[in-house]
Symmetry: D2
Subunit: 110 residues, 4 copies
């Protein structure tokens, strides 16, 4: 890994590709399908937080069942985001680097 790598998701990309290959799912993994699937998972993630006040949301780790659920939904969002990037040809590390640089110009540090 280069010193300045922001994110290295090659292992995850390869695992998700193998998962799709073994199940003949590649034909389902079009950009728009993956986009809608991402929305579905974001909805499940939002449900975890919908009735919590800010204190309870900040202490989700103290509730093992809810924290396990949170980990799963975050992983699901990550999976579809990674797949969407893969099928559209977006390199996550390069995209992150370029956007961070753009954000630093948009929101200069005081």
């Amino acid at each position: 890994m280069k010193d300045d790598t922001l994110i290295d998701a090659r292992g995850l990309g390869a695992a998700l590709q193998r998962f799709a290959d073994e199940r003949d799912w590649n034909r389902h993994h079009t950009p728009r399908n993956l986009m809608l699937a991402l929305v579905g998972e974001v909805g499940e993630l939002a449900e975890i937080f919908q009735w919590l006040d800010d204190d309870a949301a900040a202490r989700l780790r103290d509730d093992p069942a809810r924290f396990a659920h949170l980990r799963e939904e975050i992983a699901d969002v990550l999976f579809y985001l990674t797949r969407l990037a893969m099928v559209t040809g977006v390199d996550l590390d390069e995209a992150a680097r370029d956007k961070l640089a753009k954000n630093a110009i948009k929101y200069p540090a005081p």
Copy 2:
């Protein structure tokens, strides 16, 4: 990096933390705020695909302006997802590994 790492986002996490520290944004980065911000970025990502047919969505790389936009929105979703994981104490690599294992049981390869 261990051989079996799925995702290493330590560089991104450190960069996002520094970005928030320098701008005094940590007090805004509560789990529920980040969740809503993630939804906002997912909405911007969805807008890219909303009027495209499947062929056009699969050829976004051929349209430099749209592809640049796609890279930025994917990065923004990734940033808020990474921040949400950070403030809730979720390790992306471990969460991904556990969920992949669970998915492999739920959807056995034929």
Copy 3:
């Protein structure tokens, strides 16, 4: 109903208010909670469409089980949108009229 009413959701608003009153849910129905709940339901609605091609999506009515599911998820999104409007003081009919007028200026008919 006045001739130019766009949407009259008073019956639904009253029914949802009664539903919340009877279950002591008003304290949960803050704007941000309702916003997150709306996102959860939009996610469930998106899941219906995620693996369908455009033809199948246009023929959902022909599949009674899926169509029943679609009706329920559309209703759930409508409920939280109506509640969010109620607790923030937005009149749906007036908001719709003003936005339609604005859209007609933004996108003039040819």
Copy 4:
């Protein structure tokens, strides 16, 4: 209007249909396109709430510029939800009535 009508959106439906007809937009208004457009508008609605605490979110009406924005985004979500219901053949009033009845069974009043 019958006494037990929950929602009457016929005026809005007709206005949206005329709007689409005049601009030749019906070919764009497939269920999946409208679903993604709905997600885009939900994202814009979420952005209004993302950095607000619960108190500020409850007092949006006191901020004319933000309240005007809120009204517009709620209207936009309503428009795409109504259009999605139209093109998939879902009657909002019937769907709302059936789902309310189902919810009353799922969550019995104490």
